[in-house]
Each structure stands twice: as structure tokens, then as C-alpha cells.
Symmetry: D2
Subunit: 335 residues, 4 copies
């Protein structure tokens, strides 16, 4: 009830401070009998890992997943699945000065005021490291929705922009999660330049969801769009969410919109209509700038590493709604 | 668990189809001993009521609130509060043709597919009428947070735009909920023009929240911004949410953002920092256009009537988080 | 979150004070497309109604169910179902003296202390009348589990005792819900005698559940037996719960128990094993005794009217667990 | 949603199979700033540990608690607290024969049927080892309710019986958790005799709760008695629950009960009245009997080790209700 649980039927709780013993997740809603692969899980974590590509933090941590329960002989048991990742590279003394210093745009001061206490050695519970638990949850969500294809990508990062059409043309867009991979060299140069200047930049991450069955989402508060919004705004640096035509809708007349079903972004009345679903989010620039930002472990742009987190949250929402729809056994989805 | 419940500690469930017997709400999380006024509640409902101003639907329904439980001698009892509004002006035969006809952008087809059955006489559960239950809930949320001032307003409607500064200058902005009330005559003319042409228009509703105590919101999934996002995206026509600088963050450098605390929109690390909170949403144009839209009961623009609904949802989120913070008894908020 | 909600997937919230406008229930978890009969629902309510048989309260209220939402053309819509019962026979002045008087064994004093306010005109929220909302919920639960047969009966009331074998021999055991209906005349005489003396009596209600599929119940906290226990102890006068051999287990050796599967009461490891499930509860005597109890509306024994409430709660637990098991799609139950 | 979570505001999720890597718990509802002692936590775990006293299992496991998150410099942070216990003494080959063999009275067969898969190496998720996670949760619950004294004890074990008065006379009743410690030698002899004969025995555990504030518990479904019932029936071998006079109520007249407030067991209308609360449960005999039961690791009687588990669950319920009552800020409890 302190907000560390996500989901209703496909639900999980995450725990861990950035400089504590470990971070982790307990999933209490995964079906039994699914094939589990530690290697596949680790690959997902590696996509989020720091220090993977030039221009992101060089804080290299193993981020090695350890499964404590819920898996037996390579299959899910239907019991809670606990996975932890130990913090191995804590470098706590780097953070000592933060004890009495609050970083703007971070949770330092609000955490201190909320609880009257905090782990000052880093972001604590509000650190970006918390998102690795989400990536683990997203891996298991993916096992539940094998027919749905969820792909997040950077649609804008500083001067670089990319379209969903560019994404559709490609299967793999690593390492920067930017569809137009021809720009990779330029992006690298751009990010290294930001870093050298102690600067950071925001941008946009979009999501294309293909293969969603008709009927996911509930008509009142748990509309599919509402749960997507919550899931993505729950990511630290995310400051906006839209779906379909999004903010552009403010400039359109009804006659322009109603002609084409695709304009509704795959969701009508809060319920999936079977079309592709399209989401867009805005991420603010990393708050740490100036001399401090030139230190190794800071990301000049969070976007490349945020992409797998966005994908994970979207998958968790879909898995949850799939289970919810299945429970009641009505409508076409269950036929 | 079918998504008709909202909130955790300040929680409520809504019910009712647009052409059924009644709509209503049961609140299970209101403190005892608060002063209740049926008149004040009715005033909130009237702000949302159809047919109130020229240029909106002329479907005039009493929308009269009837309290069934939880109030005794003018005070809340701490027990569940049930309030219903009867549907008096159903005009069901108008809708008969909809039995086999699905309106684009509405929930007609998705509802049919999800459940295998629907009340075809109107939007059913997905009708805008469902929002009157939210306005009732918002009234009670307001009783829980008397020191927080929540004001929603139209920041853009077709060619008309208004700023938060214009809002700050005024106490009352009715009837269009547009801060620059000098434009009321023009707006009226504009909306009547849309109506005559069977056209509709989208826009933006923004929210200014003053007086939020420090420490509301939880660091992981139930960040204050995440719960605001969910609450507003759960409104039918809402297609985007942002807070603080919002989408503009995609175009900014860290050095531009970090200089001013106000840029974080009153929320740092998902937790309120005591500053004003600023939210913005986009609403799509009403989907019904053409000849059908010229009929009396259709709104050419949903925004004026959506403003009290937006306010209500924001209040419900704040009341919920205030109770959550109070429960644990830690931090400055409880001193 | 103030405890007026029951169930997770088959969930409902109840509301209403005994002397307020109405009592009711909103169900948010009933499948779509089920056949609804107002007559059948009313019959369930009538089984609980006061004044039905000699020896129970003569407070005759219509207890007429009114459906406000969720039903369309005789079918459930999958949307929330709201049903209310108006309080027509409030006789409030009878209760005026209770304003400053707390009845022992009732919730009068604890309610006042908990909330700092109460509706003193009767039991308020803690009145036995609250259980009519449960009976309504139980009717809908029954629609979800048509293959499971739930029968509650009085196994002991004062000097009268009856066995599950006597129940198995009969289809209908009304009006006292005592299997050995040959005793009806004696029971009537006994209850009228109690009434004349301002006396009351406790007893036991047992439940036989036939046809439960294998696999309902969860291994840790939501064991089927745990949820049955909670559901029945949530009834006002219920003071004990047991299943299978129950308290007798305290006197048995392992070798005596393990020989026969039936001894485990249909639940092993918290999960149904497909055998008949057998539950027993104890109800305390009505707290009101003496001169006051001779007044018309008091029941000398709550048991006959509690039987349909017990059945309703058991059905709600079963419906909830059936939906939960169905959601995850694993195991034999889904084949 | 698969039933591994307990509590609403003081809530926690447990995980782990008896022969997996580890068992553990994540608490998401502990206040910030409480003093934590690993030694005190370990002492609670040791009370439940196997092999502690003669006549119980000789499966000696370290059951060493490892804190992964939520504690910083000896204080709770208000963030989720994760604690794990590794399984060090798995002896899995002992259990190989169980792959195709279902033990009566255990969850073996129901688990297989429910999930279509199971960890056959032991009780898996349904093993008694799962209760160590509850003991850990109970330790933290205790930190939240320092003024409430919860003491569980064996009131009947085979031929031995003890009363609450005997408990009141003593501060410490270890090692058998039987108040009349003069019987310790006899009990030891009795249990060793059972073991030698491959026999087991059931009994009763009672609980005395002193110092509960007035006003805990909710009037409808979350009555304090109902939540106690659920919490205790969620323990594997528990087959009955009662409070106050319990089953004896079936034999009493109203006039006998209403004379003394103590007869209501500290709970009126589901809400604590400030008096001592008295609970009683029945535990069935361990299901494993015969030659198999003579092997070292089997307990001839689960009661001595179940006592700290019962205490833990009761504390968790009280902490949860204390937080719930505090949240709403009404009534005497908050003054």
C-alpha cells in the first residue's frame, strides 16, 4: 500500500535502494507451466544495463539476475517468482556529500520530507536502478502475451527524430533504440559532446504495439489508455503520455478525426479494438548537469536505457488486462 | 475488479448505464464527522450538467443527487456513502438504430466484442453520463482536502487559448470555464457555428493545484504524477497528459530545466514538493459529426462540461494520497 | 478500504444503515450474458426477510429489490450491478432512547468510539439488515457457479440438533432451515416460549458444499478455508468457524485422521480436492434480552434467518475463487 | 492476486518453496524511522526453528535472516523491506519418491491438479517452511504496535491442557509454549513417545491480546474477528477459529451471555472495545504417520513451533487495522 506494487492479476512488488544490498521483484500472478530462460531474462536486463554503449553512464554493474523462487526445472510453478539483483558497485563514498545536499529535480528533498529519513547514498528508492526490477517483471509479462509484439523506440532525442514507419521497417534497432540506425555514429558523437559539456537532453519514446486482442481494458477507470498512462508516468523521468494522435487532437476538428479508425490509436472507449496501438511519452533531461555531470556514472541522456523499461511496463499492463479479461470468460476474446 | 473502482484509501465504485435506471457512486473511504451539504453537492453536479450554456447539448436532465446512505443529520458517518442520480430523460427510441450500428471513436463495437452483449440504447457504461458519478466523488474528496485549491480550466478550445496567469487573476470563470471570460460571446458564437455545421472540436484542459502539502505520492508506481495521469486518462475523451513543462521537455537541455524549481511542476521524484502543481490534458473532438451531430443532444465541444470532471478526478487523487500519507504517520506532513 | 468491499474478482461493495434511506450492493465482477431473474432474486431475499415464520421478528418489511444498473433485457451486461432495498418501516422513534444508551454485545459503543459519531436510530451500519445486501450478492454469485450446490442448515438451535445426513435426504428444509422438519412444530413452540420470556438462544449453522471443482483456493494466505472463515466471521453474530472434523481434531491422533480423505473436509493444503466441503459455525444468542426482547421486532434466535446469509457468503467465496483460478489458465480446472 | 499477499495497509507478500533457493517476504507498509534489530528478528525466527526442543523435528536449519532493503543505519526507511532466508539443508533426494506419490492431508495432489505442475521435492509452496516469512512479517508488525501485547500459547496438546490464567501468571513459557511449564518434562516424554511410534497429535493454540486500542476493525466485512479468522485459518494445519466464549455460545442463552462484557471477547460489532481479546484455534495432527513419521525431520506435533506463527499473524492483523484507523483520522483513537 506504499505504492511498490503494480498490477492487479499480473501483479508484482519491487524493492531495493540503489545502494542497499539488492534490488528485486516478487511476481504474484504468473501462470504455471511457462518456459523460463535465465539467459533470455539476462538479455533483457542487459538492454537496460549502464555502460553498454558510448555516451551513457560508465557505471558498469553486472546486474546479474538471481532467481529465488517460483521456477522449477525450467518452468514457472504458478507460485510467486522472486528475482534479485545484488548491488555490487556501490561506490558509496562518492555520495557522502549528498547527505545534506538535495539535488534539484531528484527525490532527495521530497523523500526526506515525506519519511523524515532517507538513504542519502544515492537516489535510494527513487534511483533509476529501481527500473531493473520492472525489466524483470516485463520479461515474465512477455511470457504471458507471446502473440503481442511490443516495441518501444526513441522518436526524438535532441536533434534526432525518427518515425514509426522507420521502426516498422526494421527488426532490430540497437544499440541506441533509435530506428534510423544510420544515425548511430552521429548520436554517439552528440552524446559524448553533451557529456564533455556536463549537459543533458530530453526527448520522446514511442511505443508500437501489434497483435493486441480485441477487448482489453475496462470501460470506467481501468481503461487501457489509463493504465498505460499510469505505467509510463510511474517511470522517474517521464513527464507526458499520449496515445494515437495525442496532443495533435487539440488542433483537430471532429470531421478530420472520425474519418479514419487508425486515428483512435487502437483504443476505443478505453478498450482495445484489435488495431495497432501507438503511445508516446516525453522524458525530461537528466537533472544532473555541470561539473557533476561530467563524472563517469551520469547519463547525458536517459532515453536509450529507458526504452526497455518502457517496453516492460507496457507488457505488464497488457498481461494484466489479458488475465482480467480471461477471468470473466465473456466476449470474443475467450472463444 | 472490472475497473469500476477508483482509489485505495479514498476509494469509490461507480455504476450505471446512460439509459438504465440510475447512475451512482458508493464511496468507501470518507472520514467521519465532515459537514455535508446537498446543495453544495448539487452545485457541483450542475456545473457538469448538459444544457447549461449555449453551444452545449440541450439534453436537459435534472441530474438530481439522491443520498442513500452514509450521511446522518448533516454529517458523514464514516460508513459508505451511496449517491444516485436517476435517468429521467432517456429518449431510448432515438437510439434504436444504434443496435446494429457502431459509432466510430465510441465504445460501441469494443463493448460488444468485449462482453458479447451491450446496452445499445446509448453509450451504456461508456457514456459521458458516467462522469456525473465522478463529480459526486470529487465533492466528497473536496471535503477531505479543504486546504488544497484545485482549479481546472480550458487552456485551448479551437482558436481560443488562455493561460494559467489569466486563471490566477480570477476567482470565477464560468460558464465556459475559460479564464479569459471576455471571450464568452465569441465562444458562444463559435460553438453554435460548429453545431450548425455538424462539426466538433478538441482542445486542452489544464489544472492548477495550490496548497498541496509536501510529501504526497509514493516513490515507485504510485507516484503522484502517475496517479494523476491515470485519473485523467480514465476520462473518455482524454488523449494526453503532462505535468510541469510537459512535452516541451523533449526540446530542452538539462541546463535549461534545472535552474528553476518551478519547472518540475510541483512534483519531484513522484512526490509533491509543496509548490504549485500544474497539469495539462488534451481532449479529442467529439466523435459524432455530420447530420447526427446537429441533433439537439450532442455537444460540439466536450471541454466546458469536462472541466468539473477533471477537477473531481484530481481531488480524488489528492484525497487518496493524503489519507495514505497520514496512515503511516511519518515525515513532516504528520507533525 | 473501510471494509465494505468483499472479494477480489467476484467483488462487491455494500452500503446502507438500518434506518437510512436504503441499503444496497454494487457488484463489480459478474460475467456478462448470464440470465437474470428478479423473481429468483426476490425469493432469496424473502428467505432472509423478517416476520416470515412464527418465532422470528415481526418487523415486516417488504425488502423489495430494485435493480439500478448492469442488467439489460434479462441478461447481465458485465458492467457493475447495483441493487437497492429501501427501508420502508423505519419506526425511528422506537430507537430514540438509544441515543445515549449502548446495548451490550452490539456495536453501539464501539461505533461511537471508532467514528466519534453514529446513527443511533438502530444498529446503523452494524445492523443485521446489512446482510440483505449479502444475500443479493450471493444470488449473483450463484449465477457464476451453477454446478456447485451450497446448502446451509441449522445443525443446533437450543435443544434441537440435526445432522448432515438428515440434510442429504431432503431437498427443501424450510421454513426453519432445520433438516429434521418433523420438529417444526416443536421449534415454533420453543421459539415462541423464548420470546415470551424475553430470552434468546445461540446455536450452530453448518454448510454442505457439493460439486466444487478441484483446484480452488490459493496455497498461502488465500486458502479456501481462510476465505470461508473470513466470510462467515464477517457475519455479526458468528463467533466460530471450523471445517471438516473441526475442533474434534484437537482430540485426535494422526493415525485416526489420515486413514480417510473425507476427514480433511474437502480442502487439502488450502485447495479444494473435489470432495464435499463441510463447514460449521457457531452463532451467539441475540444480545437483546429481558423486557426489551419481548417487543415485536426482536428475534429470539437469529439462526433461521442467518442460514441464507451463510449460504450467500459461501457462494461469493466460491465464485471469487473460480474466477481467480480461471484467470491464470493453468491446471485441470481449465481443461 | 494469487494469494501470496496479506494485509491492506500493513501489507506483505511472501515467496519461496521449501526446497528452492530461498524463502522470503517483502513488506510494503512499514512506517519510517522505526528501530530495527537484526538480533531481535533472528530471535523470533529461532522460536519457530526446527530442532530447537526435544520432540520436534531434528531438521536443523540455520534459518538465518538476510535483509536486502528498506533498512538504513538501523532504522526503517518507509520503503519496502525485503528479508530472505536461504534453504541450506535441502536433502532433496529424500523426497524423490514423492514425485509420483501424494501424501494424504498435504497439498501434493491438489497442487498438482491446480497448477498442472509442482516442485515435488517437498511441500513446495505449501510447506510449513513458508511460515518463517510470516514470522518475519510479524516482527515488523510488532514494531508498529509497541503498546499491544500479543501472547499465543498451547491450550491443549494431547492430554495436556492449560488455561489463560496460567498464562497471565507468567512472562516466559518457553520452550514448549505451554503455560504450565511444570509439565515440560512430561511433555518431552510424551512427544518422544509419539515419535517413536510414528504417531502425531493435534491440539489447540489460544491467544491473549492485551492493550488493543478501542476502535480497530471495520463494521462490515473487515470485522476484526473476521480478519483474525482469516489470518489464522491461512496457517496450514489450522482447522478452526473462535473468539471469546466461542463454540460454547451454541449452548448458552442470551441472558447468560449479556450479563458480562468479557463474554464478547473484546470485540463488539466487529470492532475492538478496549478489553482483552481472546482467540482460540484448533490444529489438526500432522498428517505424516507410520514408518515415515519416525524419520528425523518430522514433527509429531506442530503446536510448539506454530505458536510464534500464530502470534505473528495476529500482530500483522492488528498493525494493519491500526494503520487503517489512523488514516481516516476520526474517532477517539486519533485524539
Amino acid at each position: 500500500m506504499r505504492g511498490n506494487k503494480f498490477g492487479k492479476l499480473f501483479s508484482f512488488v519491487t524493492f531495493g535502494e540503489s545502494h542497499g544490498e539488492a534490488l528485486g521483484v516478487v511476481l504474484d500472478g504468473v501462470s504455471a507451466g511457462l518456459d523460463f530462460s535465465l539467459e533470455a531474462l539476462q538479455l533483457e536486463l542487459d538492454r537496460r544495463a549502464p555502460g553498454r554503449v558510448a555516451g551513457t553512464t560508465n557505471r558498469k554493474e553486472a546486474d546479474k539476475a538471481e532467481v529465488l523462487s517460483g521456477i522449477f526445472e525450467g518452468k514457472t510453478l504458478g507460485t510467486p517468482i522472486a528475482v534479485i539483483v545484488r548491488n555490487t558497485n556501490q561506490r558509496s563514498k562518492d555520495y557522502d556529500k549528498l547527505k545534506t545536499e538535495y539535488r534539484p529535480g531528484h527525490a532527495d528533498e521530497t523523500t526526506q520530507n515525506k519519511y523524515g529519513i532517507r538513504d542519502h547514498r544515492g537516489g535510494g528508492r527513487s534511483s533509476g536502478r529501481e527500473t531493473l526490477a520492472r525489466v524483470i517483471a516485463g520479461y515474465f509479462a512477455g511470457l504471458m502475451i507471446p502473440k503481442i509484439k511490443v516495441r518501444a523506440y526513441i522518436s526524438k532525442m535532441g536533434p534526432f527524430e525518427s518515425t514509426v514507419e522507420e521502426l516498422r521497417e526494421r527488426e532490430d534497432i540497437s544499440p541506441y533504440n533509435f530506428p534510423n540506425t544510420d544515425k548511430n555514429t552521429e548520436i554517439k558523437k552528440y552524446l559524448l559532446g553533451l557529456k564533455a559539456n556536463g549537459e543533458s537532453v530530453g526527448g520522446r519514446i514511442s511505443v508500437l504495439i501489434e497483435g493486441t486482442p480485441v477487448g482489453l481494458g475496462e470501460p470506467a477507470f481501468d481503461k487501457l489508455k489509463a493504465d498505460f498512462a499510469k505505467s509510463l508516468l510511474s517511470i522517474g523521468a517521464c513527464v507526458s503520455f499520449s496515445f494515437g494522435l495525442g496532443e495533435e487532437m487539440a488542433n483537430l476538428m471532429g470531421s478530420e478525426v472520425s474519418t479514419q479508425r487508425g486515428n483512435f490509436g487502437g483504443i476505443e472507449g478505453g478498450i482495445s479494438n484489435g488495431e495497432d496501438i501507438f503511445l508516446t511519452t516525453t522524458f525530461k533531461p537528466t537533472s544532473t548537469v555541470g561539473e557533476k555531470a561530467k563524472e563517469g556514472r551520469h547519463d547525458p541522456c536517459i532515453l536509450p536505457r529507458a526504452v526497455p523499461v518502457v517496453e516492460a511496463m507496457v507488457k505488464c499492463v497488457l498481461a494484466d488486462h489479458l488475465l482480467r479479461q480471461r477471468a470473466y470468460g465473456d466476449g470474443v476474446i475467450n472463444e
